[in-house]
């Protein structure tokens, strides 16, 4: 039964990774950039949620929405200021800028509010734990899973049924051709950043609720792991990011359950390297040959 319990924990942790990974995968799919600052948007989201709960005394769902909106704006700002001038630059320049933006956000936050961690208020949403066949599933895990799944369904709806989703798919397929077809590429890219960042903001709030501790450098490791999840599923593919995130969460929980909790952070990177070596296009990806 311990095993099933860990599995449930893994799935709720994994759904947080999946939410962050969606942002990575969408941005990568559209501008071919590893947005290193995405993990820090996640951190900002956690802090916005924290401040709206403790200072503005809002309830959890309102805080979640405020954090998502703020992060969406923040993501678009990052894109417009730092990434847009580099759209035709080398990949290496864009990647270095992304690392720079990430550090700027981290240390900017430390500069303004200090590096001390904050404790998330507990018992925000009173949901009782349920018991199925002797497995006790905490209300929190269920809530996290519920929020993540509904956001993912919403995202699928946006990408596949709306006009902006269609534009996003077109731009990620071929940016120049999309431009010729009259699609406003800049707005589409901004929308992608907005949606991805909003998901990261939501992940930040539920992460804070799950781990009860947030700090300015909290975005680094979950950000990297979410990237691993995106690569695992095949970067640029939305269902891939979801499956990758869930899978990574489960693998991690199982490693902890087997008694190697100190190695937990390392496992994600081992998974990454194995995937990159044996199946670089990810579980869901197709191999594309490159030409001169």
């Amino acid at each position: 039964m311990e095993f099933v319990q860990q599995l449930v924990n893994g799935v709720s942790l994994g759904s947080i990774y999946a939410l962050i990974a969606l942002g990575y995968t969408m941005v990568y799919g559209i501008v071919k950039l590893i947005n290193f600052a995405h993990g820090d948007v996640f951190m900002i989201g956690a802090f916005i949620g924290f401040y709206s709960i403790t200072f503005l005394h809002l309830n959890f769902f309102l805080a979640l929405i405020i954090s998502m909106v703020f992060c969406a704006i923040f993501g678009v700002l990052i894109e417009r200021i730092a990434y847009k001038p580099l759209r035709n630059a080398t990949r290496i320049a864009a990647l270095i800028t992304a690392i720079g933006v990430s550090l700027l956000i981290e240390y900017g936050v430390i500069y303004f509010r200090g590096a001390q961690p904050e404790a998330y208020p507990s018992g925000l949403v009173p949901i009782k734990a349920i018991e199925i066949l002797g497995v006790k599933i905490s209300g929190q895990s269920l809530l996290i899973l519920g929020i993540s799944l509904s956001l993912m369904v919403l995202l699928q709806f946006i990408v596949h049924k709306t006009k902006i989703g269609k534009a996003m798919r077109a731009v990620s397929h071929d940016m120049d051709a999309a431009k010729l077809m009259g699609i406003n590429v800049n707005n589409t890219i901004s929308a992608t950043f907005a949606i991805g960042s909003a998901l990261a903001g939501a992940a930040g709030v539920i992460f804070g609720m799950y781990y009860t501790k947030i700090e300015p450098l909290m975005g680094i490791i979950p950000g990297l792991k979410a990237f691993v999840a995106a690569v695992l599923g095949g970067i640029g593919i939305i269902p891939g990011a979801m499956v990758g995130g869930l899978l990574l969460g489960v693998i991690e929980s199982l490693v902890s359950a087997l008694g190697f909790s100190l190695w937990r952070d390392g496992v994600a990177f081992v998974v990454l390297i194995l995937i990159l070596i044996f199946r670089p296009s990810g579980l869901f990806g197709k191999n594309v040959r490159e030409k001169v």
């Binding site: 990647l95 270095i96 720079g100 100190l262 990454l272 390297i273 990159l276």
Partner: protein, 324 residues
Amino acid sequence: MKILKSAKGFWTSIVLAVVFGIVMQFLITGEIINFFYVNTLYFIGINIILAASLHLIIGITGQFSIGHAGFLAVGAYASAIITMKLELPFSLGLLAGGLAAAVAGLIIGIPSLRLKGDYLAIATLGFGEIVRIVFLNIDYVGGASGMSVTQLTTWPWLFGSILLTVIVIRNFTNSTHGRACISVRENEIAADAMGINTTYYKVIAFVIGSFFAGVAGALYAHNFFIIQPTNFGFLKSFDILIFVVLGGLGSLSGAVLSAILLTIISTFLQSYPEVRMIIYSLVLIIMMIYRPQGLLGTRELTTFFKFGKSAKGGVHNDSKDTVA
């Protein structure tokens, strides 16, 4: 004639460097410059080696590796084990640090160098983190609390290592192998089509680069009294990356200059760590937006002696899909 001329310049610069080294040695032993500046000098030296070694991987071969602190850590711990646990002399520790890192570079390089650009970057980042976590979990080297090391790094060892690093990397770049590496940087697929064994050259550059990172690790470890896994995190890799990027991807003298410059700046900003990181990251962002080729581009300080293709530089900017 041309070869003789460049050889002459080469020997002159070595003689000048050795004279500089001896003068510094007298200044240090005579205690003419105080301890603070000597310490800064040691930091500068170690960072020069790191910058030069990463320059070979990123600047010359175009392989975007951001896990360099991993090799630094391997070198540091390997040399510390040799000197502290096995009580062998420092020279052996230095060599062992370099060799251990080179072996690590070989093991990591062969599988991961099949990847390109972003994927390689993230794989090397992951590798750097794995190294850190491994040292964190080995009790033999002290785990999280770290390993105490006596200070053994002296100016002659440090200076000798810098000189060796710079000479080897400079001569490697100008050799046939170095040319092959540059062709891999410019366009890997085209280089492959021209019959260059791209994997071989990438691995060679990676192994040499990690060897010198390991040497730097040995010097770094024995310059402190304690080494801890937290010293070798992502931020350390990032510091080294900035040296190379700021100086100009593809310019050895640029990497060395920016290592000197940034070490001095960060020494002065030591009491304001947040401000230091904010300045670093802003410099990086602004640099990438307005001058992505770095301060010197692909040029060297000695460019005015040559009138060749290398003097033009800036090839990096044209080939946006293949580089990195």
